[in-house]
């Protein structure tokens, strides 16, 4: 019973749509199949995505392509040190008649239709902005002009580059925990791919590249319904539930699970994180992955495929190890997956 049952024909149809969506994105972003797959999973899990990576690896291009293929309204802001929450909500200016005006800002401008909110360089924005974003992500609503605006289709995509540390503000734990995934992007390592990226004029003009992507492949308004159907349609067995619980305790207490990393005191490594919300996100993402693979049951492989991206950014290490986060966390995730027996 590996195939989705005929009764779930809608799910099967939607899977074709999702695969077409991936193919469209892949036209603009090459050598990033994994990042594309994860973004697709995030869309159908209705989760927010944090993209992280070097400068110029295609984070913005990927998000622009996603926004184009996803349909719905799209807004983009750049994080800066002097940005304040009001700058996101209100647009203040002097009109032609010389009087000050206040109009809805980038967040409110498209109101309920807003589906992709793209926050560039999120770590340049101040914590005040982060906390606004926190509410926007968690409740998909914001208060302005004495009323509450709701964004039922909203998905936040943010990116941050990991090179600079000056004049940046690390995302607070609560904000980070609300992202479904943190997807790391690296430049492709395949020499042929690298040659193409360097010499093919197609990749020199980002705007033209984005135009290649078909518009509105996915009907944004119906994603919520199909996302719920996926969560109900993919079966998780008791054995898999046990596996998840084992994974969870292993990542919280790696020392007790018998995991050892070089130069790390395992008992004093993890300070917190791996919240119940995080594990729920993990299952949500894994279910979408199972559906994309054409299965109606959740397998450990699905969990493994999304585990680092959904769990690593919500684990908080002791300050001693926080500086080595980039090397410790992938190793920890790998060790947990290699250690915990499945099934």
């Amino acid at each position: 019973m590996n195939q989705i049952r005929p009764a779930d024909a809608a799910l099967t149809d939607w899977r074709q749509v999702a695969l077409r969506f991936e193919a469209e994105i892949a036209k603009a972003v090459i050598g990033q199949e994994r990042a594309i797959r994860l973004v697709t999973i995030a869309i159908f899990a209705r989760g927010h995505v944090l993209l992280e990576g070097d400068v110029g690896v295609g984070k913005t291009t990927l998000l622009r392509a996603v926004a184009r293929a996803l349909g719905g309204a799209y807004e983009r802001v750049e994080g800066t040190v002097d940005m304040m929450p009001a700058d996101l909500i209100y647009h203040t200016y002097l009109a032609e008649d010389g009087r000050p005006r206040i109009e809805p800002g980038p967040v409110l401008r498209r109101a309920e239709d807003l589906s992709v909110f793209f926050f560039n360089e999120i770590n340049r924005a101040r914590p005040q902005v982060h906390s606004l974003l926190l509410r926007l992500m968690a409740e998909r609503s914001v208060s302005a002009f004495n009323r509450e605006y709701r964004f039922p289709y909203l998905q936040v995509f943010a990116d941050r580059n990991r090179v600079e540390r000056e004049e940046t503000f690390e995302l607070p734990a609560a904000a980070r925990d609300r992202f479904l995934m943190e997807i790391g992007m690296e430049a492709p390592t395949d020499p042929g791919m690298r040659r193409r990226l360097a010499f093919d004029p197609l990749f020199h003009d980002t705007d033209a590249l984005i135009q290649e992507v078909a518009q509105d492949v996915i009907d944004q308004a119906s994603v919520a319904g199909i996302a719920a159907a996926i969560q109900h349609g993919i079966h998780a067995s008791p054995a898999l539930e046990e596996y998840v619980v084992r994974l969870w305790s292993a990542i919280r207490e790696p020392g007790q699970a018998g995991i050892a990393l070089p130069d790390v005191a395992m008992d004093a490594l993890v300070q917190g994180g791996a919240s119940p919300r995080g594990v729920a996100f993990l299952i949500r993402a894994a279910r979408v992955r199972a559906w994309l693979e054409g299965r109606d049951m959740l397998l450990p492989e699905d969990l493994r495929a999304v585990f680092p991206e959904t769990m690593a950014h919500r684990i908080f290490l002791e300050p001693v190890y926080e500086m080595r986060r980039e090397s410790i966390l992938p190793a920890l995730c790998r060790a947990v997956l290699d250690r915990v027996p499945a099934p």
Binding site: M1, N2, A236, L299, P300, P341, P343
Partner: protein
């Protein structure tokens, strides 16, 4: 008449009878120069062992008779096999001419006796004397001569033990001990150790090859351990639970072989890393499908229908065999 008497044993050892065994032969000889019968020369009785005879023993004697050439013993005059006395039988007689020398020929009479004397003590008995008639072989000759073979003694011994003569000091009954042969235990000892070591080394090598204790938990023999567990599960009564446990055992075998958790999607990579199991691609694929059904599917009973327990057991056995072959070949 010339006679050589039996010499009494000088150093009696265990018993007089055995002591007499020290003498190899006894030569009794009788010279019977009868004046009227000049044709007969010396008569010599040779008895190889005229002592230490028990009831029922056979003993032989050779009688050498010197006769003038041309005379031969008359067959009718030879002693007849049969009882001679109440205690002695003659069982066989044969006569043969010997070499001729100085006009005389030596005739050799071979006699076999059997004694039935049930002696109660060691005693001397006399084998009865007899005569042999020699006749001229010339045509129409009538000359004959009689050779007289004298009686000679034999010593018979009782089957029962004999009371030795009383002595003042009982210690004198004890014979001096024969010196123990001094054997050097070094070589047999060294050989024993060597063979024990060799055997142990062989056993260790076999245990290592078969992943027996203490090599059970070698990482290189993960499938051997899995196969043991699967075999144990195969005889369990609770088929459903046994199937699950057997699947888990195989999972752990794969995990330990690869040093990480091997899931269904990793099968291709696993086979690339461990080409020894390439022949088992299909069974391993079915194993992962069955495992998915059992552990993660909606209906766990489906798996046993598609891939029954005997298939699982056979796959486990083939994996263990492939593992052993791979390790023997030095790669895995």
């Amino acid at each position: 008449m010339r006679t050589r008497a039996i010499e009494p044993p000088r150093v009696p050892r265990e018993s007089p009878v055995v002591a007499m065994a020290g003498l190899l032969s006894v030569l009794l000889s009788g010279l019977l120069p009868l004046p009227a019968e000049a044709q007969i020369g010396a008569v010599v009785v040779r008895s190889p062992r005229p002592f230490g005879l028990f009831v029922g023993d056979r003993f032989g004697a050779t009688v050498e008779i010197e006769a003038v050439d041309g005379f031969a013993p008359q067959a009718a005059s030879l002693p007849k096999p049969g009882p001679l006395t109440y205690w002695l039988d003659l069982t066989a007689v044969s006569v043969a001419p010997g070499p001729a020398r100085d006009g005389n020929r030596l005739w050799r009479l071979s006699l076999t006796y059997q004694t039935f004397y049930a002696a109660l003590d060691v005693r001397r008995l006399d084998v009865p004397a007899f005569t042999v008639t020699f006749a001229s072989e010339a045509p129409r000759a009538t000359t004959s001569a009689v050779a007289e073979v004298p009686s000679w003694p034999i010593g018979v011994s009782p089957l029962r033990e004999i009371q030795p003569p009383p002595v003042a000091d009982p210690v004198e009954y004890l014979r001096p001990e024969s010196p123990n042969p001094r054997r050097d235990p070094a070589l047999p000892g060294a050989l024993a150790w060597a063979f024990a070591g060799l055997g142990l080394a062989g056993l260790l090598a076999l245990a290592r090859d078969r992943a027996w204790w203490p090599f059970r938990h070698r990482p290189a023999r993960a499938f051997a351990a899995a196969w043991r567990q699967v075999r144990r599960q195969a005889v369990r009564r609770d088929a459903e639970a046994a199937y699950r446990e057997a699947l888990l055992a195989l999972h752990r075998g794969l995990d330990r072989t690869d040093g990480r958790r091997v899931m269904g999607e990793d099968l291709a990579g696993f086979l690339v890393r461990h080409p020894a199991y390439a022949a088992l691609t299909q069974p391993l694929d079915r194993f992962f499908r069955a495992s998915r059904e059992v552990f993660f599917g909606r209906d766990p009973s489906l798996a046993q229908r598609d891939w029954p327990m005997p298939d699982l057991v056979a796959t486990a056995r083939r994996l263990a065999a492939a593992e052993r072959a791979a390790n023997a070949g030095g790669h895995s």
